[in-house]
Subunit: 201 residues, 2 copies
Amino acid sequence: MNIATDTRSRIIAAAKPRFHSRSYANVGIQEICESAGVQKGSFYHFFPSKRDLVMAVIDEFADEWANGFVAEAFDPALPPMERIDYLIDAAYFWQKSIKQVHGRMLGCIFGNLTLEVSTQDDILRAKLLAIFSRAKSRFKETLEQAAAAGSIAPLDADLTAEAMLAYLEGVILLAKSQNDPEVLYRLGPAIKTLRIEATAG
Amino acid sequence: MNIATDTRSRIIAAAKPRFHSRSYANVGIQEICESAGVQKGSFYHFFPSKRDLVMAVIDEFADEWANGFVAEAFDPALPPMERIDYLIDAAYFWQKSIKQVHGRMLGCIFGNLTLEVSTQDDILRAKLLAIFSRAKSRFKETLEQAAAAGSIAPLDADLTAEAMLAYLEGVILLAKSQNDPEVLYRLGPAIKTLRIEATAG
DNA sequence: CTTGCATTTAACCGGTCGGTCAACTAGCAT
DNA sequence: ATGCTAGTTGACCGACCGGTTAAATGCAAG
């Protein structure tokens, strides 16, 4: 059991940085197997297809975030709007450290995969959509609490949360196009200026 | 000469919708040649490499936009901030019509390619960066004129322009993840709420 | 000691990848 | 008529693609 689990997790560990730094299509199963020291047949014992592997990778990234930066940022002890500052900071420092190690801004793997595969694979698109949906909920809760506390004017929390998520993804995209995490530092804080008013009624 | 030009443009015409609707890696030269009714050797007479083809495709999309929606939106006759409304509208209707014809939200080819290739090909990244840079300039001019006309409070036009471009790309990304152009309609107008203040001095 | 299952091995599948090559054709200028 | 060049043809290259297969393991429960 343990060895088996080990093989499976070695495969995922080999796949993660590759999918993050390149693209879904550009990373082959053969390469992943060689890097993980696993035979191809063994790979297909654990993963029915390449798609299933990338879904496992998505889950790992999502867990990593949810239990790491995101948990820290959305700490209920922080004033609501400061959580958003914290999240932007965390994204900035993360991308910066990746660039220092890797030489490249890799961006957000969820955004990367979304633009690459979502026209070609509805199952993967649904998976990524669920990730974004959860992220949006975090923003939404925060905005609701901020409005309740009176630290921001009332607004449409649902739409504004979605707008903020969009902005974050867009800033990361632009930063990647410049291979420069400083874009996140410059543009990130403006996320709090985004507002969508609540419709009457 | 004419026939030659025709072959070249048939290749580009075949490649454009494919790169837009799938991805760089997922579209093969063979498929493009078959669709264009061109032999592979003939392809390589006109394009030294696949990268050169996609650069030509990028140029065509950029020209199309610059002479189409963008030229209409950034009409000096319009009040500055209305130009931005117009651009968002144009992006929305464009994506909507694509979805009606194609069944899919294809998003922005520049954003798509940026996230797919910019860690792997600095020449393509530079090409895409130049496109974004021009787009940012359009926003910047508009913001400067709006500020000069007093229709918005003074701000850092350069940074706010970059933020707006990021937001637009982010909204398109999220819309693509939902395969739903209505996201553009819901979130797009909030682009005008983005503000980055000018630093003192 | 044996049965049975999870795991591993390595060869193998048809197909596609980006790119090359040498021979050939057509049109134009000398 | 001849030579040059732009363009075209179709076969060919080695490498890799995602995925399959059958036989060999290791291991644990009966």
